[in-house]
Amino acid sequence: MKWLWFAIKNVLRNRRRSLVTILIAAVGTAGILIGGGFALYTYESLAEMAARDSGHLILAQHDYFDRDEDTPMQYGLENYAALRDKLELDPRVRLALPRVQFSGLISNGDKSSIFVGIGIEPDGEFSVKGPTMKVLAGSLLGSKSDTGATPEIILGSELAKIMKATPGTGLTLLSTTTSGTLNALDVKVSGIVTVGVPEIDKRLVYVALPTAQHLLLTDKVSTLSVYLRDIGQTEEMRGVVAAMFPGNALQTWRDQAYFYIAVRGLYNRIFGLLGLVIVVMVLFAVTNTLAMAVVERTREIGTLRALGTLPSQIVRIFALEGLVLGIAGVFSGMLAAAGISLLLLFSNVQMPPPPGRSMGYPLQVNLSANLYLVTLIAIITLSIAAAWLVSRKAAAKPIVEALGHV
């Protein structure tokens, strides 16, 4: 405790220099925490978006993910209702949603365009989409949309523009059936949505599951998307579901989240490099401050050595000074970062849309206990290491030489 008290007094000896060093360490710490927290928030948001889109687990017929279909639904799931009932018995499973993936031409009578369609169960499907899908006009599909008259569809915003469609507009879907023939179906636009990706909005069509099956002349579905109550249980449930249905193929949201994986790889490199630069900057600042202190106090080091202080105890004094500077800097930086994170949480600052996207997203910074702990340990360790580096030579200097230092 006495050594620490001595170190604190030494840090306060040149207050302005110490303050500048602490500020550099604080700014560096805040930079790492804000940059890292933003990256973590981005990963979390993209993971959620990907999982909301595909489902946490995707169950399919065993060849579905590996082979191209010769005809639509060649590798479709036949017994999906039984699979679904069994899956939904597990309390960790929130929903299991059947989907039919199909494509074809959509026409307004004057003009045709390619579409990518998804047959869904509207109530369940739209409840899991959350903020990843925004309704721009009209309404979403109702659960009884195919019971009577013309089946309803939801269009992506760009495709609606191409088709000059608004809610209520009549269109025709043309697609290949499971037997390889063409089938057409008249439909009515119920609503127009965007998923924030113009390339998808240009092709997107949602129809109710029976409508899709009717168009393709099938009673199969493409996949069963399993939504869990907690994304953190994905890997655990992958094993459970794989064991439950060994004859089927299974993927997780991560297997299909190409954008998430690409962004994570890019951000890891960018923020990793940024973190490294900041750490080096803090290391130089602390090294510079303590190196000056060592030179200025060489005579004092000689005196302390003459009085019986071991070189290791001299190094300990400077290491504790590094510790004090590091702690002061890192805690100031952590407070600043936490303050900025909370401010952003309540201020709704929007980021511009990322490349390939049409919707911005809120600028937020995660408060990660792990990130804070790792940064705390890294900055303090570096500060101590810097002190050790600069003081060990002075501590070993001959006493007479140190006492004669001017």
Partner: protein, 226 residues
């Protein structure tokens, strides 16, 4: 004097320094014994080797040749750590420029050698209070060196040197930076405290008042004892 009262012994000790390209002899085959409890003045002109001899007696420097023993313990083959531990236990230092630690109060400066020696907090406080009282600085205990006069600083330095009751105190020009009246007080103080503890003093000095108060005066000229 017999060997049992001999505190420090130098036999044929030589020391030289490199000055640029040239090697300059500071001490030449000095043989010297200092008895326990003795007040010894080390005099001679500047550059005669006083400080070098003092550094060797204080074990903060090592000779190029010859042997030094303290309390009959040869020091030539001791490691730096062992030498440090001997200094910590047996040797006190008084420097010309006081060499107090500026961020420590007078109390903390005096307490430091006891802290190094591993004394407990209560024992340290009792001993420091006692010696502060004896050097007349009880009221200044919580002042830092820059808040003290030159004489007061040297009193703190003497208290720091003597607080652990060392066998030997080496003092390098302890009165050089003090006015005449203060210098006399400092000499009296060293005498009083040294005598009461049975401490041996080796004092490098140009000051005739210091020399006159010592039991013995050693004169060095060009690194050779006269």
């Amino acid at each position: 004097m017999n060997s049992t009262t001999q505190l420090i012994r130098l036999e044929n000790v030589s020391k030289s320094y490199l000055m640029g390209q040239a090697r300059v002899a500071a001490l030449r085959e000095v043989t010297l014994s200092i008895e326990a409890g003795e007040f010894t003045a080390l005099t001679g002109p500047s550059g005669s080797g006083k400080s070098t001899l003092l550094n060797l007696c204080g074990l903060i420097d090592q000779p190029d040749a010859g042997h030094i023993s303290i309390d009959d313990q040869a020091t030539g083959k001791l490691s730096q750590k062992d030498l440090t531990l001997i200094r910590r236990e047996k040797i006190g230092f008084v420097f010309q420029g006081f060499n107090l630690v500026p961020v420590m109060t007078a109390f903390e400066n005096i307490e430091y050698p006891l802290f190094l020696a591993g004394a407990g907090a209560a024992a340290r406080r009792e001993r420091v209070d006692e010696i502060l009282s004896r050097v007349g600085l009880s009221e200044q205990a919580q002042r830092r060196p820059d808040e003290l006069s030159g004489g007061q600083r040297q009193r703190v330095a003497i208290a720091r040197a003597l607080v652990k009751k060392p066998r030997l105190v080496v003092a390098d020009e302890p009165t050089a930076n003090l006015d005449s009246a203060t210098a006399t007080q400092i000499i009296d103080l060293m005498h009083e405290l040294g005598r009461s503890n049975g401490t041996t003093f080796v004092i490098a000095t140009h000051d005739a008042r210091v020399t006159s108060r010592c039991d013995r005066s050693i004169v060095l000229t060009d690194g050779v004892l006269q």
